[in-house]
C-alpha cells in the first residue's frame, strides 16, 4: 500500500526539503506558490519495490541560479520540452518520475509535472548538492543515462552517454544560455536501477522530517533534533563571516557558544563542515542544518550573518553515500577544501533514523559542553 502525497503535504515536504538542503538548494517558495495554484487530489508515492523494476523512470530538477529562479519565474510546465525531447529520443513514454534532488527547491519540482506519471519515493542525491556529476546515477557510472535540458526560447539540448564531468560542464553552459536557470530531465534508467543506484525512500524521509520540524519547531532544541532525525551540535552566536582568500565561493563563519566552545562553519553553496574548538565535528555529506535560535527559521548559507544566534544540527547523510568511493564525491575535499573531511562513519546508528531507512549519525559526536 503506497503512501499518498496530497496538496496539504506540500508545506511539510517543503520544510523537509529545506532541512535536507543543508543551507543551499534554493528556496521552495516559488514552487510552493505554483503548487498552491493547481490543487491535486492525493497521489500515491510508490516505494521502489512496489513498481515493476523494468518501468522506465525519469528525474527532474531545476538547475542554475536559485536566485534568478525567483526573478525570472518559470512557466507552468517548465519541463514539457525536455521531457518530450527525451521521450522522443528514447522512443518510449516514461510512466514514472522520481526526484533528482530532494534537498532545496527541487524537493518540490516533480510535483510541478503534469500528474499523469507515477511518483517514485527516491532521489539521486538524498540531500542538496551543487554539481550534476554528484547525481547517484553518475557517481555509480550507470550506463545509458540521458539528459535533456532547455536552452531557452524552445530549444533543448540532449546529452547521451557523456562522461559525468562533461554532463556537468555542458549542461551548466546550457543553463547559462537558457538565462540563468533551466529545467533538466534525466532519463534512460528504470525503477529497478533506483534500488541500487539512488537514494530510496528519501522523499518519505523529507516528508517525515518536515512534519517533525513543523511540529517541534518552537519547542526544546533537543526535541527538535529528535523530530528531524538529527542531533543538536550546539547553540552559538555568529561573530562574523568572511570569504576565503583563495576561493571567494567559500565562506568561513566564526561562531562562539555562550558556554564557551568556538565553532567554525565552512559554507559553499551548502553548509559543508562544522568544527568545534579546532576539531571538525560534522562534514558533508552529513547534512548541517542551521536554525535561527529565535525565529526557528531554517537559515540558508547567505543568511548566516554576524549577530545571529543559531542552533546547529547534524542530520545523517543517507546510507547510500557511506560507501567510500561515493563518500569522497560529496566530502569537502571534493570541492578542493583540504583538512575538513571526517572519516566515513563506520557504524549504522541505533538511534531514531528517518523512517525511510538507515542513516548515519553525525561524524563526530558532540562533546558534552
Amino acid at each position: 500500500m503506497p503512501r499518498t502525497l496530497a496538496s496539504h503535504d506540500v508545506p511539510a515536504l517543503a520544510a523537509g526539503a529545506a532541512l535536507l538542503g543543508a543551507g543551499g538548494g534554493g528556496a521552495t517558495t516559488v514552487l510552493e506558490l505554483m503548487l498552491r495554484g493547481t490543487p491535486h487530489p492525493p497521489r500515491p508515492l510508490h516505494a521502489v519495490g512496489e513498481l515493476d523494476p523494468a518501468t522506465p523512470c525519469l528525474a527532474v530538477a531545476v538547475m542554475g541560479s536559485t536566485m534568478l529562479f525567483t526573478e525570472r519565474l518559470p512557466a507552468l510546465d517548465p519541463f514539457a520540452e525536455p521531457v518530450a525531447a527525451l521521450e522522443r529520443w528514447l522512443g518510449t513514454p516514461v510512466p514514472a518520475v522520481c526526484w533528482a534532488e530532494v534537498g532545496g527547491m527541487n524537493g518540490l519540482t516533480p510535483l510541478a509535472l503534469p500528474p499523469r506519471r507515477r511518483l517514485v519515493d527516491a532521489d539521486l542525491m538524498g540531500r542538496a548538492l551543487p554539481d550534476l556529476d554528484q547525481f547517484s546515477l553518475l557517481v555509480d557510472d550507470v550506463p545509458g543515462v540521458v539528459f535533456a535540458c532547455t536552452t531557452g526560447a524552445g530549444g533543448v539540448v540532449l546529452l547521451d552517454g557523456s562522461r559525468p564531468a562533461d554532463v556537468e560542464q555542458i549542461l551548466r553552459t546550457a543553463t547559462t544560455t537558457a538565462g540563468g536557470w533551466a529545467g533538466i530531465v534525466v532519463g534512460g534508467f528504470t525503477v529497478g536501477d533506483l534500488a541500487r543506484h539512488a537514494i530510496v525512500g528519501s522523499v518519505s524521509r523529507a516528508l517525515d522530517a518536515g512534519r517533525g520540524f513543523l511540529a517541534a519547531r518552537h519547542g526544546d532544541p533537543r526535541e527538535l533534533a529528535r523530530a528531524i532525525g538529527g542531533e543538536l551540535v550546539g547553540e552559538a552566536r555568529v561573530l562574523g563571516a568572511a570569504p576565503l582568500a583563495d576561493d571567494p565561493r567559500v565562506t568561513t563563519v566564526d561562531l562562539v557558544a555562550p558556554d564557551g566552545p568556538v565553532y567554525r562553519l565552512v559554507t559553499r553553496t551548502e553548509h559543508l563542515a562544522l568544527s568545534r574548538d579546532g576539531r571538525t565535528v560534522v562534514a558533508a555529506p552529513t547534512v548541517i542544518v542551521v536554525v535561527d535560535a529565535v525565529t526557528r527559521e531554517i537559515v540558508p548559507v547567505e543568511g548566516v550573518r554576524r549577530g545571529r544566534s543559531v542552533l546547529l544540527y547534524a542530520v545523517p547523510a543517507p546510507a547510500w553515500w557511506r560507501e567510500p568511493r561515493r563518500y569522497a564525491r560529496a566530502s569537502p575535499s571534493a570541492y578542493g577544501l583540504a583538512g575538513l573531511d571526517v572519516p566515513v562513519p563506520a557504524t549504522v546508528p541505533a538511534g531514531p533514523a528517518g523512517p525511510a531507512g538507515p542513516a548515519e549519525p553525525a561524524a563526530d559526536r558532540p562533546e558534552a559542553p
Binding site: 583563495d246 568556538v262 567554525r264 568544527s275 579546532g278 576539531r279 577544501l337 583540504a338 583538512g339 575538513l340
Partner: protein, 501 residues
C-alpha cells in the same frame, strides 16, 4: 631565581625578530621548542612555547586545527611566522593558547633560548654590545649613553639620589628611581613600573652616582645579565664623565683668557684677538647686552658657566658665556637693534635663568645696557660687572640688577640706596628741615656756587649763604673736605628724591 619566560617579558625583550601578540593575554613558559612544522613537535610538552618556522596553513579551519593540535600536545604558546592572519583569537582564548606572530621566527627562537636556557649567552651577547659601544666615537657622555641604550635595547640613566642627571630611552619611573639602593655596589630592583639593574659609578669628581639600566618589563635572566653589563659599562661611563669635565675645563679656560684679552683692549681687538674671537663665533659687530653672574658664596665658576651655557640655549638669540674671576660673564648678540619688547623679553628670560639657578648656586646677576659694536660690547660687559657687584647686596631685588637706561650717576645712586647706607644717610640729615635739605642738595649740586643755587631755588643769594652756614653748624661737617662733601651729597640723594632736589 626561577627560569621561566613570561609573555610580557618576551614581548618587551629586544631583538626578538619583530614579534606580535595575536591572541591570548598571559603565559609563563618553562621551555621553548623550535621546529619546522607542527608534526615535528614533541607529543608531550608541559607549559612550553612552540616556535614554528613554516607558515600557517592557508585556510582558517586548518589553522584552527593546528592550534588545537599544538594545544593537545601540551603547549601553551605558539609562534607562527608572519602573516598569521587566519588565527582565530576566540579559539586560541578558548584553548588557552597564546599565539604570537614572528617576523623572523629563527631570531625569536634565538631570543627565547637566550632568555630561558642560556643566560651566559645572553650576558655575553649584551657585553659584546657594550664593546661595540666602546668602539664607537662618542661626542660626550650623553652621546655615549645614547649609543649604549641603542646597542642594548634598554633604557639607560645616570642618577644620583635626588635626580636623574642624564637618561636615554624611556624615562626612569620615579618609583623605580626611589627603589634603587645607593649604598651597595650592584643592585637590582623591581616595581610595578619596571625593573632596573644599577651599579655605583666610581667617579673621582662626582660622588653618589649610579648607572641604571632599566625597562618596563625584564625577565630575571635579563635583569641578571644587565647587572653584569652595568658593571662592565660603568668604568667607561666614569671615564667619560672625567673626560667631559677636562674638556669643558680647558675650553672654558681658553675662552675666559680670550675675553680677558678683549676687555683689556677696551673693545678694539688687535688682529690676533679678533681672529681667536672669530674662531669662537664671537662677533663684535651688531648690538650686545652683557650680563655677569657672581657667586655670593663659594661656587665653582666652571660649573656655573656650564649650567648657564646649557640654559642660554632657551633664549632665541646668539649668546656666549665664559668664566671670569669668581663668576661668569656672558652676552647676547643681535645683528640688528632689537625692539624694546624683544629686549625686555630676553632680559626677563635672563632673570628667570637667574632665579632658577638659585636652587643650585647662590649668585647675584647684573645686566648691562644694549650697546653697539666692539667698544659697546666692552662697555656693556663693564656695566654688567658693576651691576652684578651692586646686586650682591640687593636681597630686595632678588640679587638681580638690570642697569637698563640708567647712567653712571644713577648707578652710583642705586648703590647708595642699599640697606646699610640709607639709614645712615637719614640719621646724618635728620637735624635739617625740609627747606634746609632742599637748599643743601641744590648747593652741592651746583658745585657750591651760591648764585647758581639761589637762582635754582628762586631765593636771594644772602638767604642761601645764611642757610648754608646754619646747616654746616647743625651737621657739624666741613663741606670743603672732599670726603665729607661726597658723603653728604650722596646722603642728600638718598633722602631727597632727585625730582625734589
Amino acid at each position: 631565581m626561577s627560569t621561566t619566560l613570561s609573555l610580557a617579558g618576551l614581548l618587551a625583550a629586544p631583538r626578538t625578530g619583530g614579534v606580535r601578540l595575536v591572541a591570548g593575554r598571559e603565559a609563563e613558559w618553562r621551555d621553548v621548542v623550535v621546529e619546522t612544522a607542527e608534526a615535528d613537535l614533541p607529543d608531550h610538552a608541559d607549559g612550553a612555547l612552540a616556535v614554528l618556522t613554516s607558515p600557517a596553513p592557508p585556510t582558517p579551519w586548518q589553522t584552527d586545527a593546528l592550534l588545537r593540535r599544538v594545544r593537545d600536545r601540551g603547549f601553551t604558546g605558539l609562534a607562527l611566522p608572519e602573516p598569521a592572519r587566519e588565527v582565530s583569537a576566540d579559539l586560541a582564548q578558548r584553548l588557552g593558547l597564546v599565539v604570537l606572530a614572528a617576523g623572523r621566527p629563527t631570531q625569536l627562537a634565538r631570543a627565547c633560548w637566550e632568555l630561558l636556557a642560556q643566560r651566559d649567552a645572553l650576558t655575553l651577547s649584551l657585553v659584546r654590545r657594550v664593546a661595540q659601544t666602546i668602539e664607537y666615537h662618542a661626542e660626550d657622555l650623553r652621546d655615549l649613553l645614547r649609543d649604549l641604550a641603542a646597542n642594548l635595547g634598554h633604557a639607560v640613566a645616570l642618577v644620583d639620589r635626588d635626580e636623574v642627571l642624564l637618561e636615554v630611552g624611556h624615562p626612569l619611573p620615579p618609583r623605580l628611581h626611589a627603589a634603587v639602593d645607593f649604598s651597595g655596589w650592584a643592585h637590582t630592583v623591581r616595581t610595578d613600573d619596571g625593573a632596573a639593574a644599577s651599579v655605583r659609578v666610581d667617579s673621582p669628581t662626582r660622588g653618589g652616582l649610579r648607572l641604571v639600566l632599566h625597562d618596563r618589563v625584564l625577565t630575571d635572566a635579563q635583569l641578571a645579565a644587565l647587572t653584569t653589563v652595568a658593571e662592565v659599562a660603568m668604568p667607561m661611563v666614569a671615564a667619560r664623565i672625567l673626560i667631559d669635565e677636562v674638556v669643558a675645563l680647558s675650553d672654558v679656560s681658553r675662552s675666559s683668557g680670550l675675553l680677558g684679552d678683549f676687555l683689556e683692549q677696551r673693545g678694539v681687538p688687535d688682529p690676533e684677538v679678533a681672529r681667536r674671537m672669530r674662531e669662537r663665533g664671537w662677533r663684535t659687530i651688531g648690538y650686545h647686552v652683557g650680563f655677569r653672574m657672581v657667586a655670593r658664596h663659594r661656587a665653582e665658576p666652571v660649573d656655573l658657566a656650564q649650567y648657564v651655557s646649557r640654559r642660554l640655549g632657551a633664549i632665541p638669540v646668539d649668546s656666549h658665556v665664559t668664566t671670569r674671576g669668581r663668576g661668569v660673564t656672558g652676552w647676547l648678540s643681535y645683528t640688528e637693534a632689537p625692539s624694546a619688547a624683544t629686549l625686555a623679553d630676553h632680559i626677563a628670560r635672563l632673570r628667570r635663568l637667574h632665579t632658577d639657578a638659585q636652587s643650585q648656586y647662590s649668585i647675584a646677576t647684573g645686566v648691562g645696557t644694549l650697546r653697539e659694536g666692539g667698544p659697546g660690547l666692552s662697555a656693556t660687559l663693564g656695566e654688567a660687572a658693576d651691576a652684578a657687584r651692586l646686586a650682591t647686596t640687593r636681597a630686595s631685588t632678588g640679587w638681580f640688577l638690570h642697569i637698563d637706561r640708567l647712567g653712571l650717576e644713577q648707578l652710583l645712586l642705586a648703590w647708595t640706596g642699599n640697606d646699610t647706607f640709607a639709614p645712615a644717610a637719614r640719621s646724618l640729615l635728620e637735624p635739617l628741615s625740609p627747606t634746609d635739605l632742599r637748599t643743601l642738595s641744590a648747593y652741592l649740586d651746583h658745585e657750591s656756587q651760591v648764585a647758581a643755587t639761589a637762582t635754582a631755588l628762586g631765593v636771594h643769594r644772602n638767604t642761601v649763604t645764611t642757610r648754608m652756614q646754619r646747616i654746616q653748624e647743625e651737621l657739624g661737617v666741613d663741606l670743603t673736605d672732599p670726603d665729607a662733601r661726597l658723603a653728604v651729597h650722596l646722603a642728600c640723594r638718598t633722602v631727597v628724591p632727585p625730582s625734589d632736589a
